[in-house]
Assembly symmetry: C2
Homo-oligomer: 395 residues x 2
């Protein structure tokens, strides 16, 4: 490979989504991945595993020894730093020099809706101020490409299902508001560089619905600290015995279901789950980050089709466009794990809506995104990871 | 006066709105005003003038010498500091100790809509990050009352005129978005303290329409750096000869009117102007800050009427509820100044809407707000200030 690897910085690279994104970027052979993570909700081991996995897969795919550049592309420059510290981030960019970092995939964020209502200022600091400071440092070092990790929460309670990207943003939690504020900042920055004088800043925002599953090797997966806030990792922790001692009859093993009287297939809430590797694939399964994500944006801005008001910023929903209910998930996890989950229906939870389903056509058309992995695959991959790593990376 | 003056911090205290708010607070005799200003768009002279004016008015209102506490209440603790520097703000709070600062009126912000589209990150830093850091420092020092200076721009293009506070917020400029983000942060902070364990944080947001005029003494007024971005100060600068040399025929004296084909009384845009002292009066003409603004909020939160979902945060429109057109303003300024303004109609400006008029009933009912001063009074007061201070405070 005679070309130079493009340096891509992934923030929150050691986290659940981050580690799968890093893996996917490495697999293209086009990027040198740099990670910044403060390990608030992750461990450095995830990136060591990703790196080793990528190298091992590389070796077994070749009939020859890998080149130095190929080996290099599997190594990750992992920095432990907090994005709220502008000087730390600046120092890391300075290591690579002016224009050294080609693009940023910004994933790092606090992400628990409930917690965000309790410590909102911490969420604004970690999500909004940190993103602002990252954008300022990027500008300073001539880095002008960013993929932002947004969320379906920007829509709040959507007026229509499935949810299109043009749906008005009416976030209901502090967490959701931080995601909208970041989209605003990034979009406004892009627009400000469309004055014909500046070097254009290019950005896309990916609004994730419900990422799930893990790498099929069982080496990399979701490792939440404390009791999982999300349904699938919670079920995995119950099945593996971290909660309720592996006894289906144990009080702690019983899954509380928030309401079964919603107007859905079985009365429980319906969400749009997609495999975390399908999500990561939107970024770059076959070099899309370069070929499609940013290139298409350049075309819009510089090309003849550019109209006043066209922003260089564009948001995409990432979901399967298919809803599954809480009870369907429990059934799928029963099948994957063999564990006889028991459920107890309790009252509805404030803020829950019956349906949250993406309309993913835009990402399919413009980014070549697809999410072929089924719910059963998500559950099987999750369980392979959890079984092999009952205590997560801590083992 | 046997009571201790309550310490109120006004951010942006030396600015146009800030100086009139400081004056109004001092006049109640209930507060010791502390100001933080970075003098980005203001001069320290405004506060010296406010202080001298308040003392002189105090003396002439008494048949005796003012008491030490009365004199003290007219003096302002003016700090030059930048709100984006968390450590500076922290240091200022530390001067007054835990619980020392009773409440904050947060006015400091960058405020030019056009400029915000050019340097959005600077606007997010100065408006959003600075407000976040202020809230964090307030929490740390046990200060839990804030009046936030918001703006009618939070509504973007309103679906209905007059605009009620319940209108959805759809800001269109980076400036407007920073105002919404700050309202979100403040509201979320208030809500997070309603858990029955925390000391409640109380806040109101005042959404100003178009503040205008000056103190009738001609000693305190608006002193924009550079060419005024707003219509009334621009006309004042033309009339006083700072623009166009006082010659109505001079090219520079000719006012460009953006469109005269709107569906309004004379085809020009209609806005809701209110006198800056009426605006400041909403805060505290007769001790309302204490008696009404925060007291009413406490009632809502702690009292028997509290319902789940009630926030301690509430937003109020401040406007007259009466619209005046660009040409009506020009006529009023002709009358006030005697200057024969000439106008030239040019094309519509992107983003302008025909009508922006407040529905101010909520502030009238709940805050005792009223805005009796007429457009003619605004123009006369503005002109008295501008004539006496052709170069502003710089003279």
């Amino acid at each position: 490979m005679p070309f130079e690897l493009k340096k891509v910085l992934v923030t929150g690279g050691a986290g659940y989504i981050g580690s799968h994104v890093v893996y996917t970027l490495i697999k293209t052979g086009q990027y040198k991945v740099i990670s910044i993570d403060n390990h608030h909700n992750s461990l450095p081991a995830s990136l060591s595993r990703v790196s080793a996995l990528a190298l091992s897969e590389l070796k077994s795919s070749l009939n020859r020894d890998p080149t130095e550049s190929e080996v290099e592309s599997t190594k990750i420059d992992a920095h432990t730093a907090d994005l709220t510290s502008s000087s730390s981030v600046n120092q890391i960019f300075s290591l690579y020099g002016q224009g050294g970092i080609w693009g940023v995939v910004h994933i790092a964020a606090f992400k628990a809706v409930g917690e965000s209502t309790q410590i909102p200022l911490t969420y604004y600091a970690n999500n909004v101020s940190a993103t602002l400071s990252l954008l300022q440092v990027m500008t300073q070092w001539g880095c002008r490409r960013i993929v932002y990790s947004s969320s379906a929460t920007v829509y709040g309670t959507p007026p229509e299902i499935p949810i299109k990207e043009t749906t008005r943003r009416e976030p209901e939690s502090p967490y959701g508001k931080t995601k909208v504020a970041c989209e605003w900042m990034i979009e406004d920055l892009c627009t400000s560089t469309m004055d014909g004088k500046s070097v254009p800043f290019q950005a896309i925002s990916l609004r994730y619905f419900n990422p799930a599953g893990a790498h099929p090797s069982g080496l990399v997966g979701e490792d939440p600290k404390g009791r999982p806030g999300n349904l699938l990792p919670l079920l995995a922790h119950i099945a593996v015995g971290r909660i309720g001692n592996g006894d289906p009859a144990n009080e702690k093993s019983i899954l509380k279901v928030f309401g079964d009287d919603y107007p859905t297939v079985d009365g429980t809430c319906v969400r749009d789950y997609l495999h975390v590797l399908d999500l990561a694939g939107a970024l770059d399964e076959e070099g899309k980050l370069n070929e499609r994500v940013f290139k298409s944006r350049t075309d819009i801005v510089g090309g003849k089709d550019r109209r006043p008001g066209d922003a260089k910023f564009k948001a995409y929903n990432l979901g399967k466009g298919i809803g599954v209910s809480v009870l369907e998930i429990v059934e799928a996890m029963k099948k994957a794990t063999g564990f006889q989950f028991r459920t107890e229906v309790i009252g509805r939870r404030a803020g829950d809506v019956p349906y949250l389903i993406a309309e993913p056509t835009l990402a399919q058309t413009e980014l070549g995104f697809s999410a072929p992995r089924t719910l059963d695959v998500m559950c099987a991959d999750l369980w392979r990871w959890q079984k092999a790593n009952p205590q997560g990376y801590d083992a």
